[in-house]
Amino acid sequence: MGAKPTDKDAEILIKIPISLDVPIGPQHPAIHEPVMLKIYADGEEVVHAEINTGYNHRGIEKLMEKNSYYKDKFIASRICGICNTVHENCYTRAVEYIAGLEPSERAKHLRVLVMELERIHSHMIINAIMAEIIGFDTLFMYIMRDRELVMKAKEIVAGHRVLAELHMFGGVRRDIDDVKKEKVLDILKKLEPRIKYYRRLFEEDSSIYSRLAEVGRLKSAEVLSNSLVGPILRGSGVKSDVRAEDKYDAYGNIPWNMVVRPEGDSLARMLVRWDEALESLEMCKYILEHLPQGSAVVDERKLPRTFPPGEAYARVEAPRGELIYYVVSAGGPNPYRVKVRTPSAVNIINSAFSYIGHSVADVPVILVSYDPCISCMERAIVMDLKNNIEKRVPLKYIAQWEMQ
């Protein structure tokens, strides 16, 4: 190293724009949706974030208008792979309100059982992905292994690991007997210590704590004014859960507690998910032990072909928050309009403000999937001080010029 250059020695001056534009996504930014986050960073600090969506538009709402109510039930459950049962439940209840059908008590309990099993595995998978993003791949593998137990329970109850297809207008499509009940109870017994262990790990492990605590802190007023829903809402100390407010299906008959944490940071949201998974586990046990007698399965051959005119609005608490279906019927076999508002739409589009002020590494989706250096190809201005010429060149040019 020679002597430190002074201002007098300078021949050129390089002006670099203060903010770098870091696009994250849309190709699999470590989350399920192909969403693009455009992060403007000043050094390491995020100063502005834009969220671009529309990469996964499949025209499902239009498709549902073109198909019959019965086909739509299967289309609705394919909107989301992880929370397919809640989509099914919401659509089924909306159509039931139009048609005036009422499922039996046993059917309602079985619906809640599958929805709660789904909530457990959904919360497990999002915690596993969080572990992967913070670089804790072993934990990811462990959680995914234990998630298979829940998938098996869902297979026993509904017939498939992922797509349950349990709902039908006026009831459910399969019933469970005592053998299956014992099998599912056995699985839940095995699962409980594992979930408790992972919850303790997220609470006590110092590396998880240092990566998640105080990151993305949201005040309850911010959450409410940006209409964020689900565990984000409850992680910021707002007591809101559709299961408690609407008491749809059998939620009125099952004892359960709403999980609320006041901290509002990323760690609080993950811990809310673990606590909810434990709460769901208790609900599943209660349902299996207190399953009402009677018939649950509805004969699909005797259901009406056409539905009366009318409109219905149904909402459920999906694992990610409040899910809304609005179904308009003009009579006949097809619905006139089906409007779906998923919780991810509100949570992702309205959350741009929460990235501001954090470092780029704290934008969680960036960590595994993207190297921000690649797209640092912003333009810089090179000024020749001797000849007083100003020209714009890419950063790549400077790198090559440095090497010469």
Partner: protein, 128 residues
Amino acid sequence: MSILKEALKNFFSKPSTIEYPRKVTITVEKDLRGMFYADLNKCTGCSLCSIECPAKAIEMKKLPEDKKPRHNPRGLYPVVNYMSCVFCYRCVRVCPVEAFITTPTHQLSSTREVYSEDLTVRTLKAIG
């Protein structure tokens, strides 16, 4: 020398991964929604399964004239394309004569299209 020994040992030993198609490690429930096909001893050729299919995976085909059963005057029978099928079992549940035979078979991946035609026609041969 020990490296050579190790290499020879590994050359003759089996891979530690599961040899999946040869060694079946997955056990599924008996009533899993798996492969299914129509029983021609019951099917009346009403085409309701084909109309109700959300994935348009069922096509109605005609039986040859000499093989038409008495209860199936039109001689139609459903052929399921397992590559399009989503295994929702809507066809199984709406069938007015419960003509579908269900199995928990789920390992159906193939490089060519797989249809239920052979399985269905075989049910007719069983009664002669």
